[in-house]
């Protein structure tokens, strides 16, 4: 039986470990679907999908090492990128050297793509596509929001998105009364939050990974900090954030690249967004979030490109990816010259009654923006 091997480096241990689970679930779901359909059709011949996993211990140098190992030793045909912007950027150097197409499921920062590599593609639009609609929504719905405080984890993705936020806040006439980074591994934010509280911002914007956001949210409540708008990126899209934050998640707003409420009718193996959500729920008894979906769509995109190329030749598949212009359950997919997707319109949402409710774009809107976070 012929197989196509895909390499997927995952941060199974170390600080990013929770993300590894999501990515693996997304990849596995796609592989299962593809194999159930008989495999990938390459010029009339069916190939089974096999995904090779490895743990890079949330350590960027190791992700580079494992990428090379997968390409040279495990002889994978194609690569998925490691998690996040930093590792994807580092690993893409290897893919570029070996001329192996790499699809990064979770790299949004434009810095990842600024080397104009030919073999790297990513399914997250640039960070400003999240912050701009957010700002516009707040401007439109809460005119009295004048002051914003921004607190960012000092790490590639969270910091990049905070900087975008600062830009778009300034562009929209908001006053940025506080902009600070916090160190990775910070346990206590109470002093920082007390200070923010004393500045009386109407909008508090925080970035970080799920644990940072949970920590900060809890300590905001402890400090009895109230604000008209509280935005957190990227945790609130995750079910575990909502569960762990409980009551305090209410009215937190966020933005992400995908939402299960979207209604695309795709040409990929999953078809409609609803179908993807159903398949995912059946398999994992969980509501999928954007991280699951992005991993799955990466597989689906590879499948389409390979089938279109009708060959396993890496350059041909790469060219198909570069030319790609198609609608999927994830949304319309078209990559820019630098490899980053530029066709998505990321949704803005808010936690209401323990559920993420889409506020924007209007086409899939589920509810109205609510002010006031206690």
């Amino acid at each position: 039986q012929d197989v196509i091997r895909f390499g997927a480096p995952l941060p199974i241990t170390g600080p990013l470990a929770p993300e590894a689970v999501k990515q693996q679930q997304g990849y596995d779901l796609w592989a299962e679907q593809a194999n159930k359909a008989g495999g990938i059709d390459v010029g009339g011949k069916k190939y089974k999908v096999e995904i090779v996993y490895s743990d890079y211990q949330s350590n960027t140098p190791r992700s580079v090492q494992t990428t090379e190992q997968m390409i040279t030793q495990d002889k994978v045909n194609f690569m998925f990128g490691p998690f996040g912007s930093g590792a994807a950027k580092a690993a893409s150097t290897i893919a570029e050297k070996y001329k192996v197409p790499m699809l990064a499921a979770t790299a949004s920062s434009s810095q990842v793509y600024d080397q104009n590599y030919k073999y790297l593609f990513g399914t997250f639009t640039p960070n400003d596509t999240l912050t701009t609609p957010l700002t516009q929504l707040v401007k439109a719905k809460a005119a009295d929001v004048k002051k914003i405080a921004i607190l960012a984890r000092n790490d590639l993705f969270p910091l990049a998105i905070a900087q975008e936020m600062e830009k778009s806040a300034k562009a929209n006439g908001l006053e940025v009364v506080y902009f600070e980074k916090y160190a990775i591994n910070t346990l206590d934010h109470s002093a920082t939050l007390s200070q923010i509280k004393s500045l009386n911002p109407q909008w508090v914007f925080v970035t970080g990974y799920t644990n940072d956001l949970l920590l900060i949210r809890k300590q905001m409540v402890d400090q009895q900090m109230k604000a008209g708008v509280v935005t957190m990126i990227a945790g609130p899209a995750y079910q575990e954030f909502i569960e762990s934050a409980g009551q305090s998640a209410e009215n937190i707003s966020s933005a992400s690249w995908w939402h299960p409420a979207e209604q695309y009718n795709g040409k990929d193996i999953f078809g409609t967004t609803a179908n993807f959500v159903k398949l995912f729920k059946d398999k994992y008894k969980l509501e999928p979030d954007y991280a699951h979906a992005s991993a799955a769509v990466c597989g689906a995109l590879f499948q389409m490109a390979i089938e279109k190329a009708g060959s396993l030749d890496r350059d041909k598949v790469r060219d198909e990816l570069a030319k790609m212009d198609v609608v999927t359950f994830w949304g319309p997919v078209k990559f820019g010259a630098n490899g980053q997707i530029n066709s998505l319109e990321p949704p803005v949402f808010q936690i209401q009654a323990g559920k993420p409710v889409v506020l924007f774009p209007d086409a899939i809107k589920q509810g109205e923006f609510k002010l006031g976070v206690n």
Binding site: D55, T60, P61, T72, G86, K89, A90, S109, N154, D155
Partner: protein, 316 residues
């Protein structure tokens, strides 16, 4: 020159033959092995000879990486940048060493550990120069193909290892090495016989930092992209110690063997156990410590013989 030092040079020479057999990934592993051997040898100058348990390896690795990265971004060629890393780490470590090495034992360990944190946060916050949390791109010094690239960096790292080993051997045979040995055994007495221990320790700390710094620079050029949490990873400090302990504290041959064996184990375990590799590695470390408390160098024929015949080894 002692027999073990000759054995060390022979071992390193053998490693140079790797490109004849291995592909690019093997070369990557070889490059890593050389890098860790440099760390372990360097650590041994302070930790093994002078007996000061330093955790500062990661600090100077990161510093060296960023120095080279920044210089290369300013158009300085690789060799000069590496020299820059080496000299900067040498001088800075010597200066810091003069102050920090007044501390003994645990206290020194903690202070050197804090150096890593301080350096990382300084680099993290000097956003204009280093890119901070956004990381730093380093221009490619690319050869033509994947393999020639890998070979280039392998030999570069190997060469650095050879230089490090030669320097360490020279130190071990010199007055400096003798003095560091005195300091380890009894610092009060060392001072009393006219040994300027502050100077000796500063030199030792400087030497133990400079090759680590150069290796950091080479690493940065090799991977093209660094960020603070990668290069100031505390594991770069811890692993050389584990390697030195596994190989045999104080013996240059031992620590290099320790480095190679540790990396070999890590690679095998990592490949075979996706979910539980770090646990398995932990078990191996513990078993090695319990059954080979004096390191691999103690594993010579006599020892095995005594072990088999059940006679107790002599403890001194």
């Amino acid at each position: 020159m002692t027999r073990t030092n000759i054995a060390l040079l022979v071992l390193i020479t053998c490693v140079a033959a790797l490109p004849l057999f291995g592909d690019a990934y093997a070369l990557r592993l070889g490059t890593m092995a050389c890098m860790y051997a440099i760390f372990a040898l360097s650590w041994n100058i302070v930790g093994g000879f002078a007996g000061y348990p330093s955790f500062a390896t990661a600090a100077f690795f990161g510093l060296g990486a960023y120095t080279t990265g920044i210089l290369m971004n300013k158009g300085v060629p690789l060799t000069l940048s590496l020299l820059g890393s080496l000299v900067l780490c040498l001088l800075l470590a010597a200066a810091l060493g003069a102050v920090l090495l007044r501390l003994r034992g645990h206290y020194f360990a903690i202070a050197s550990l804090s150096l890593v944190e301080v350096f990382r946060e300084l680099v993290n916050n000097a956003t204009d120069l280093t890119g901070g949390g956004m990381g730093l791109n380093i221009p490619l010094v690319s050869g033509s193909s994947v393999l020639s690239d890998a070979t280039f960096f392998f030999y570069a790292m190997w060469g650095l290892l050879l230089i490090t080993a030669l320097v360490v051997i020279a130190v071990s045979m010199s007055k400096l090495g003798f003095g560091l040995n005195c300091i380890r055994q009894n610092e009060t007495a060392s001072n009393m016989v006219g040994l300027n221990s502050t100077l000796y320790k500063a030199i030792a700390f400087g030497l133990s930092a400079c090759f680590v710094g150069a290796a950091g620079g080479l690493y940065a050029a090799w991977v093209h992209y660094i960020d603070p949490s990668d290069v100031f990873d505390i594991l770069y400090s811890v692993k050389p110690i584990v390697m030195a302990l596994m190989g045999g504290l104080g013996s240059p041959l031992g620590v290099v063997c320790g480095a190679f064996v540790y990396l070999g184990l890590e690679e095998v375990v990592w490949r075979n156990y996706i979910q539980i590799h770090s646990g398995v590695l932990g078990v191996l470390i513990i078993l090695l410590l319990l059954f080979l408390p004096h390191g691999l160098v103690s594993l010579h024929a006599g020892k095995i013989w005594r072990g088999l015949t059940g006679r107790k080894a002599k403890h001194v």
